[in-house]
Subunit: 379 residues, 2 copies
DNA sequence: TTCCACGAGTAAACCGGTTTTTGTTCGCGA
DNA sequence: TCGCGAACAAAAACCGGTTTACTCGTGGAA
């Protein structure tokens, strides 16, 4: 009768297979229950029946719990293999009160999302940890504060995920508080800033990279070193700008002019023109990402300047293109993949109630290429 | 007693809250069940009790089914709002036999994953459709054929997702057949190639873009037009190469030299050197993506050539940086976001057993910038 | 010899929803 | 007044696992 029930269900579920007239644009795999219900997808009950044991015995074996003899165990494993049975993730999630999934909500304008080298690398890193641990990654892209908030609420209320990665921290960000309120575990993914209250973020020491850049330019004789940063609403922008200011001060230099841009190429070009229009134009510019740096370089060349002879340029990220622009871009590289890995490890520990192992991330690297050089004699 | 049961469960579940000594690197939200179980997260039973109706009534209201009086309905909605109750996604998934999630498995080397402008845009497009429909996107990044196969099997057997996006189609790809076997619905995401058997893929007409590029160069007087493509194992690479060949033939030109590269900057540069080393070096090169094109341009400039005076260059993708390199890159742009949207719509229809609405995608655009110009007089 | 601990295994409750079945009321026509 | 279908609502089965409580032998210690 089990079969009967199921059959009925499917028969009414798939509403009489609309015949998809003439080349519908899609691959139609017959959703479930082919023709005669012949491949009904085995359940734990089927396995138990075939192995002549109870459901619990099967469950015990598949969860590494004792209490099952060697002989029965073998029968169970055979039966499961024969039926190609794997525990259904949905049923498992329900009974264990665990989704076995982690969430990542990204709020960003599509254009930026498609340039930023951070996301793909971070995700790749996260995945490399997750897949080994049996967790899935649920990604959501949102475009406004409302939808962002709704997305977190939905993750929490509907229990779709067991924890989330919190990136792109903003100054005075409410999300940590809201997540605690919702009871959803999280890790902060951000530069290693001295945080206020609350837990420390997992991140790399961006600031060290920027300071290296400033010292490098100083050593080349530059004194008027400008900075093109991102919006100060973001913690990582603020950290990079702060590092630039601090290092300039430490070298006894007046922090040069600074422009706030938005990480896009257009903004980088515009900012560069503004800086070069100044009476005391800078001889070097440090940008908050490579995209702005490359666009800035291009803008400078358009004005007839030579890079690096007339203007030195430093980026941030080391995108794969950085070595291939003319001149090759001097920049700061972070190992984002490791960063993602570490974040995932910590979040999993947290979700499972374990003590997170201490994390160790490689330091940021300063990559010297052709876009920086000695300051022009005249300057 | 309901409460009692639950409480017990949580008490033993959270193993006595390890006190996270000294600045653990993570945001610990007390997993569930704070202190006294005061915020136990409401269930449908609680809502029903508060509204003095049965669970079914609540379920009916939240699923838009009739059979509930106006008065009871109001009480139910009030109660749900008061308790901030949303149906638990896991329980829902189980009883409806629907995960309400779609999967996307990406096999790619990390480096490429981080450059390719396709993924972020595609995902952004997919999301913009999904979020409105209440579906989640489960992403998985794999690095080998084995892990890829395992990933699909896991998605299907564990019923983690209701359908998948199938991208990066390879020649003779087994995945469609395997997915049909597994009973998992899918859409093919790829260039609009004349497919063999099986369902048509959803995609843009890459070939048109490449043909436009060839004609453009021909009009500028170029006759030796080379092509740097991706591995022919990929359908999209093959389609682009084929378009180049066809158009050359149509214009009465011998298809120039062609090199197979792997979409990375390094490969683009290497391929370019090879082509320029030829006795009859090409006067123009069409690349299969912008990254290779820009790297190629850089390689040419390193050899003392001027772009476009000595060599014209065409890319593919129109990455955000394309307008900002020197000279700005002539390339082909696809509206990947729309593409993602359409794919998601079709997949959802498929999963829900509906007839997919016909899709309409914008044509690819040919973007003329500074990297192409009239052929050198001497050539 | 008796008792108990323990290993092996099972039945049933449970997770939190959805869906089917069953049961009342009530209004209305005959 | 009786009968019957519509409208509403409660009860129960079900989704496919996990987990708890309990049974049944068996061997070793007292």
């Amino acid at each position: 009768m089990q079969l009967n029930r199921t059959k009925r269900r499917y028969d009414s579920g798939v509403q009489n297979e609309p015949s998809l007239p003439g080349g519908a644009n899609a691959g139609a795999a017959p959703a479930r229950g082919k023709r005669k219900g012949e491949t009904r997808k085995a359940t734990i009950g089927d396995v138990a029946a075939m192995a002549r044991v109870s459901k619990s015995a099967v469950s015990f074996v598949f969860n590494g719990r004792g209490g099952v003899g060697e002989e029965a165990r073998a029968r169970i494993l055979d039966a499961a293999a024969a039926l190609n049975w794997k525990p259904d993730a949905r049923a498992r999630a329900l009974s264990r009160s665990r989704a076995q999934a982690l969430g990542y909500i990204v709020r960003r304008e599509p254009e930026l999302f498609s340039t930023d080298p951070f996301f793909p690398q971070f995700i790749a890193g996260v995945e490399s940890t997750l897949s080994g641990e049996g967790y899935a990654l649920v990604l959501q892209v949102v475009d406004s504060e409302e939808t962002e908030r709704a997305a977190y609420a939905s993750f929490a209320n509907e229990a779709r995920v067991d924890g989330v990665f919190l990136g792109d921290l903003r100054i005075g960000d409410q999300r940590p508080a809201e997540l605690s309120e919702l009871g959803l575990p999280y890790v902060l993914v951000g530069p290693d800033a001295p945080s206020g209250a609350g837990p420390d973020p997992i991140g790399l020491d961006d600031a060290a990279g920027v300071r290296r850049a400033v010292r490098h330019l100083h050593a080349l004789g530059h004194r008027r070193i400008a900075h093109v940063g991102g919006s100060d609403r973001y913690v990582h922008s603020a950290v990079r700008r702060r590092a630039w200011e601090d290092e300039m001060a430490e070298l006894g230099l007046e922090p040069g002019p600074t422009v706030i841009a938005d990480f896009t190429g257009a903004a980088g070009a515009k900012a560069t023109h503004e800086l070069l229009d100044l009476a005391a134009a800078p001889t070097a510019i440090i940008y908050a990402n490579d995209l702005m740096a490359i666009a800035g370089m291009s803008a400078a060349i358009d004005r007839g300047l030579r890079v690096p002879a007339d203007l030195s340029v430093v980026g941030f990220d080391d995108i794969p293109l950085a070595p291939y622009v003319v001149p090759p871009l001097t920049t700061v590289r972070q190992d984002v993949i490791q960063w993602g890995r570490a974040s995932a490890r910590v979040l999993i520990s947290l979700v499972e109630g374990r003590e997170p192992a201490p994390i160790e991330l490689p330091p940021v690297e300063f990559i010297m290429r052709g876009s920086t050089g000695p300051v022009r004699a005249g300057a």
